[in-house]
Each structure stands twice: as structure tokens, then as C-alpha cells.
Amino acid sequence: MSNLLNKRLARSLWRTKPRLFAVVMMVAVGVFAGITFSGYSHNLDGMYETLHGDDDEGANLADMWIDNRSTTWSHEEVTNFCSALEASWPADMDELDSCEGRTIVQGTMFHSNDGGTQIINSLWHGIPEFANADRLWMPSGHSEGRVASAADEIVIDAHVVDALDLSLGDTVHIGAGSSPVEFSIVGIGYHPLHVFMAPEGSIFPPEPGQYVVGYVSDSGMARLTNSTIGNSNTILLDVEGTPSFDLPDTEEYEGDEIDSVRNLVSRALENAELDGRIRDRGQNEPVEIMRQDLEGAKRTSVPFAVMIAAIASITIVLSLQRLVQSQAKEIAALRTLGVNRMSLMTGYLIAPLAIGAAGCGLGAVIGPLGVDFMLDFYEGIVGLPITEREVPLSIYSNVMIPTIAVVFLSGAFPALKASKLDPLEVLSGQNQIRVGSRTLRRLTSWMPTTLGLSIRSSIRKPVRLMMTFLAVGISLMLFGSVQMMSAGLEDTIVGGLEDRQSWDAQVYINHDQEERVIEWADQRGATYEPLIEMPIGMVEDPKGLERIFTVVGLESFTEGLREINIIQGDPPQLSTSATEVLLDEGAATFLGWSVGQSHTVLLNGAEHEVTIVGVTRGELARTMYFLRADLGEALGVNATSIYLTLPDGVEVDSSLAEISAGVVERETLIEGMNSLIDQQTQIFLAMMYLGLMFTIAVMFNTMIMNVAERDFELATLRVLGASTPSLGIMLLFESLLIGIIGGLVGVVFAYGGAVGLAASFSTWQFYVTVLIVPSVAYQLMLGVILIAIAMTPIGIWRLRRMDLVEKVKNLTQ
């Protein structure tokens, strides 16, 4: 008996094939997304482990970096420091594997092509041939050549070779505040600090080929910088294993192990009378950003899969409920004939399981394709090869088991409802009788009756309507939140750079050597403005964690070449007692600081008292703004770079490059930012379109159910002579109403999603402000309304093909 009942239910479901197909597809997409994101993060995790690994295949990422870019340590100083550190190293601590000096300098590449000589902002690493930590990563099949050993050899980072059309054996001309020096390319590889090709202090990678990183030998670096072999400005420490370090994006403090190392290093530096910034992996931005990117991918997989499963569940609940409703008479007849409740329930419980199994199966089959697509996409964006790819069984089970559980549970309510139908009530038609809402009547009594009926019919089942809006809201959260966050990012970050800044090029200079650049500018009639910009601020957050921030010293905050968006307070005035500063809103939020407060911060290791006089918007990185005079006095530095506004016909040329330590053009920066935002948005593009598809599917389902449920009413009106256009207008009103409310709900959900997404992304390193950009909100609203309106023809089509003779039979029997 039970099998026959189940067969009956299966056939009933089969009659609603489009809806059944849509629900199976939703489950499949949920599983697909879950497997795709989980598989993606799993493979990325593996890739980073390989890259950072201390073995033949890896590059052995250092555990600690000590640097000071405004000085140079001699070989002897570094050796003495390392020896002292090694001597003080306790026996019970993990062994110190290596302590190595390196030189890392900003510079330029003079790249000749058909268009002439291009000046490209660059970074040059001097890496000894047999270095232990932060080596080059040259995975077989994805890199070429070997590391540089001779003084005229260089390895070029693989990220840029295609864009600049470079290959092994080519000659390149590079500089570091000097005339071009010739090097020969002997290798093409990767470096663990340059997974993401953004210049130091920025998280925006310029367009490919607009920023070059090269790796020369120690002798090559001496030749480039015209100094002695062994001189360095960075010391790398590698400890056996990986001492735990604090993860900036977590509440807990995990940095106890690295703190022991840090204490030893601080003492050793002090004893050696060396000044330097000490950073662990959590404080080294290029490393930390990629770790957080990976963590973000891991975190994203669950909410996306859950959101999709929730939409599928809501659709299943609504669809099964509608099925129960339409089968009420059959169920009542079966109950009258003695079929017990459990037999009835079984079918309605098996149905979602079957739907879930079909969806999961399909999702599992296509999941690996999604993983591959995402990994290819990552390779395309980040430019790093993912050499080994796999989707372990645990990922399938972690995604499919909760999905099946959620889908199964969604069948429980309709099943219970079916089993509780009272045969007498159904067969006597009592279950069809209901009393309309007086409140609704009062609210709509002034309207034309057709419009009033549309509104009352639309909200006659508030629970279903709310579930529909919930599903639409979640769908739009998928679709709109990324769009909203991206729009907010573009508005604040790119908008700020485009509209509030008017410089053409930022010329980096070696320590206090701005005169030559100013002279260059004067000769060409360019406007200039010196500034100080260094990531050397440090502060203790409310949890006692040391946070690094960038300090910026400007001539003016409102009239210079770089205007600052002050959202609260006033620009700083030249200091009297405590230095007046502006703080970006991200730092203010994380530190809990507000305007009027005074705090102590470390600038280049020295304590300074500052008073917050304003809060700014438009910085992704944590930043403190000073008047240049104040900051210069505190740091003993006059300027680190110069903004130039170039008159027509004047361009950045080799003569400027030779007297600078790198040149960045604003247009390049803007292109890079736009490109990054586009790329990040593209990662979620598939999700966005899935959200849109779900919105359409949910609205379609609701509209079909509404019309199906109103067959009785519509048939009555048709029999009584209502024309299809007049009924079409009623359906249109209904669609519009659902569309407008759905759109509003969608905007609220999308904003909530954007805030949530931004909060999950926002860390000390990367703070995102979510602004409601009206155009995005309007787009979302309009999208939902259009989808709703587009469903009206389906209702009209249904009306047109309604067999009135059959309907009248139902109406009169």
C-alpha cells in the first residue's frame, strides 16, 4: 500500500516537472558551490604549504624579518648580531636554522619596447645563491632556468614575463636610484613574498607589467647599489618548524611562541645597537594578505552553501505544501479509506530525500569542475601555479550530509501537515472556507476592487509570502551584497584617488634626496609636493596586540595634490604640545579611538604622543596622517617621495627614473585598483548570477503557486466574463506588489550581506566601508520588480490555456 502511495506522490511530483527540476537544480548548485569553494581552499592550502615549505620543493618562508629601509647594515654588523642571537638562543627552544642578511631595494626597470623606453616601478631582492630562507620558488614545469649567482644575472618574477615579453637570455636594464645597470635573465620564478604582485605598502597590484620584481645575487645587488657584498637592510630568521604567531583576524592570541623569539631578537638588536622593525608572518603584509585570502575562501564556502541550501529548502517547503494543498481531497479520501498517517507521511518525507539525493549527486559530479575552474581562475588572477589538485572525499561528505539533512527537514513540515488533514473538513469543503482580514479590507477599501483583490490575494498567506521574501532576500544577498560591497569600495577608494588627488606621478626618493627630483620638476614646469609615507607606525590595540600602520605626512589635507576625505573632526594644525593627527576610520574602529583623544604610538620604534583631531575615509590600509613638518621632525626624515603634476607634453622619463627609487603613476594605480576590484568581484560573479537565477526561480515558483492557487478564483471570474486583459492587469498588480516588497527586502538583505561580508573581510590590514550606493540599490529593486513583472505573462498564459469546461466541472461538483 505504502509503495503505491509513494508511486502516486512521485507521479504527482512529476506533473510539476519544471518546479521539481528547479528544486533539484538548486540543491545541485548548493552542493556544487560547497564543493567548489571547499575544494578551492583545500588546494590553495596545499599550494601555500608547498610554497612555504622548508624542503627542496619549497621556498622556505622566513619566520621573522628585521628591516630598516633608511639604513644599511654592514656584513660585519649582521654577522655579529646573528652570532649574538645564536649564542643567546635557549636550548629548550626550537633551533634557529638560519640568520641571514639581505638587501631589498625599490628601483626602476628601464624597459625598451617598440614604444620607446618604459619606466617601471620595481623591487629588487639580493638573494645569495645558497640562501636558506625566502628562496626563490621554481616549481618544475611552471618556471624556467636557475637562480642568479653571478653579478650580472637576474631572475625575473614569473608574474611579469608575459606582459613584458621577457625570456631567458634577455638583457634587462634596471636601477635603484642610479643609472641603468645591465643584467641577463637566467631564471623565471616565484617568491613567497610576491605571491600577490602589489608594491610594498599597497594591496593593489598594478596591471601586469606595471610593477616588476627581480631577484639578483648578493654580488649582483652590490653591483646594482654600488655597495659592498654582504651589506644589507633586512635580516631573515628561520626557526626550525614554524613558531605559532598571532593571526590578526582572530580574537584569540596565538603569538606566544614567536614572542619568545621576538624578545630574544629585540635584546640582540639592542645589544648590537641596530635599529630595525621586527615582523613575524602575521605582521608581514604580503604573507598575511594571502593567508587571509585563503581563510576568506575557507570561510566563504560554508555561508554560500548554507544560503543556497536555505533557498532550496524554502522552495521545497513551499512546493510540497502546495502539493499537499492540491492533493487535500485525495489525502482525505485515502484517510477515509483507512490509510494511516505514517503511510501518508512516508511519501512526503521520501520526496525531499529523493530530491536531495538527485541534487547532491548532480552537484557532486559537477563539483570538481567548479574546483578546477576556481583554481584556474586563481592562477589567472594571482599568477601562481597550483601544481597538485585533488578533491578529497571528506569535502564531499562535509557538503552533502548537511545539505541532505537540511533538505530532508524541509519536507517534515508539509509531511506533518498532510498527515494531519481532517478528512471530514476537507471533503465537506470546510477547509476552503476562511474569513478575510478586516484590517486588510479597511486598508484597501478605497482602491478599485480589482486592485484590492490583488493585494488581499497576495498577502492572504503571510507565512508563505514571508518565506518567499526570505528566499528572495537570501538570493539577493548572494547577488547584491558583493555588488554593493564592490560599489562601496570603488566609491571610497578609487573615487577618492580619482577625485581627491590630482598628482600624476609619485616619485620615490632615497633618504632625503628630494632636491634632484624638485630640480627636475622645476626645469619642466611641473608642480610638486614632497610627502612622507612609510609603514613604520606601531600601536598596541585594545587586546594588547601590536599593530603596524602607515604614517603619511602631507603639506595640506584640503588643498594639496592629495586631499583627504575627513568624515569627522578637522585637519591637524602645527603642533604645540601633542602632535595633531588624522586617523583612518578603520584604525579608529579597531583601536576604539575617537576625535579629541590623545594616545602614544611608536614611530620607527620611538614613542610619540598624538592627539586625534579627525577621522578619514578612503584608505584600505590603516593610516595616520600628520602634517609633514610634524612627522619629519619625529622621524628625522624630510620626505620619502614627491608628488608631481606634469604639464602637458611632460612625461616620466629615464632622467627622472635615474634619480628616483621608483615612480608610480596615478593612472596606473587607479587601473590596478579597478582591476583588483573587478577581479575580486569576478571571483563572486558566478555566485552573483546564481543569486539572480535563484531570485528568478523563487519568484517563478511563488507566482506559479499564486496563480495555481487562484485557479478557482480566476476560473470563476473567467466564467463570469472577465477578460484575459483585465485579469492580466490584476496579476500584474499582484506581481508589482510582490516585486516592490521583494525588491525592498532584497536591498535590505543585500546591504546586510554586504555589511556581513565586509565585516568578515575587514581586518587590521584590510578595512572595507560599506556604503549604500543608490544606483546599486535601485538596480536591485528594479531587477526584482522586472522579474516579478516578467512572471505575469506566465499567469496570463495559464489563464489562456485554462480549460473552462473542466474548471466549471470542478466548480460545480
Binding site: 474569513v435 476592487t449 484590492g452 483583490l453 478564483e713 470563476t716 473552462l804 469546461v805 466549471v808 460545480t812
Partner: protein
Amino acid sequence: MPLVEMKNIQRHYETPAGIVKALDGVSFDIEEGERVILLGPSGSGKTTLLNCLSGLDSPTGGSYKFLGGEVPRHHSEKMTSFRRENIGYVFQFFNLLQDLTVLENILLIQELAGNKNSARAKELLELVGLHSEVNRFPGEISGGQQQRVAIARSIAKRPRLLLGDELTGNLDTETSNRVMEALVNACRQEDITSVFVTHDEGLIRYATRVIRIDSGRIISDEKVTSDNEN
């Protein structure tokens, strides 16, 4: 000129088992003001005939003229338009819209026909004895009252022909009588011709003419003297 002229009307269905002749050469005229009852056993073709009369179904043969003009067939919108302009319909289960009040149910039909008139809607409710229930929802009144609302609704747009299929089939005898009295009264007042399908021989007293039908053919057609003529 008769209101309805049906000549040799056929409604045949093709089924896997062969051709089913639901109506097999039905001919009759109906004059304005008549109250016709169609009587016959189940499957006799009376509902099919009612559907053809209302323009819900298209005969497969014969001629059907309404006020001398051929009634449209096989064209959904033209048939709807014919119903809108000429036909009122009362269902067995009333089929009132539950979200609208008694008055609004009538206003809706007027609005769809393009002649919304609240005063007339109230007048019609008074005619069927429901003037005190105008603001109640269908779920709040009895079955008999609902059927009277349905009658008021079907005559709200002043149809020339009012049709009903087993319209008292769901009501007890006393309520049936009250509904039929309201119907006869309303038809007379509004000068509406009516045709009703029923099994109930007891309703003959409300008719002026009884047509008996079986196996798709008319087996008798007689004028009767209605108890309600006085």
C-alpha cells in the same frame, strides 16, 4: 425574435474508445423572460448543453444564435466577451471570492464589466434579502446566503441570460426554496431569462418551462405554470 435559437446542436468528443455524443442534435428556442429548467440523469448532456449555452464550450455541429446573431466558437476571447455581455452564471458551490466582502464580490464583477455602481450593488443585495450583510465576508454567512450573494453577483451586470448548474444541490430543501424564490424574484424584477440544470424535480415549480434531456437528446419540452407567477 427568440433570445436563444439552437438548431441541431451537436457536441461530440473523440476518445480512445470512439466518439462520444454528449449532445446529439438538440434544437430549441428560448424566448425572453422564460425560466427554463433542464432535467435529466447524470451523463445525459445537460451540463454540456449549459456550457454550450454559456459560450464556455463550442458545439461541434449545428447552429446557436443569440438574439439572432451567431454565438462565437473556438475563440476564447470572443466567447469571454459574449459571456461578459450576455450571460450570468451561478455555481453549485457559490464560488464567492473569500478575500472580498459580500458587497465587493458584486462590485468586482461590475468593475470588470466596466460599470461599477455601488448603489446598484446594494440594491441587488436588498433584492436577494442580504442588505444587512454587505460588509461581511463570505466565510461569515450561511451557504444559502452565499448562494444568494452569488445570484446577486451574476445579475449585477444585467445579463440577458442567467445560467445555473445544480445551484441548490448543496443546500437543504428549505434553504433551496429560499434561494430559488430570491432567484425568481430577481429575474422577474431585472427582466432576466434563466436556464437551470438540476436533478431536483421539486424545483419545477419555479420554472415556466421544463426541458428533459437524455443521451444527448431532448426527450420532452413542456411549458409549466410556475407557482411563483403570482
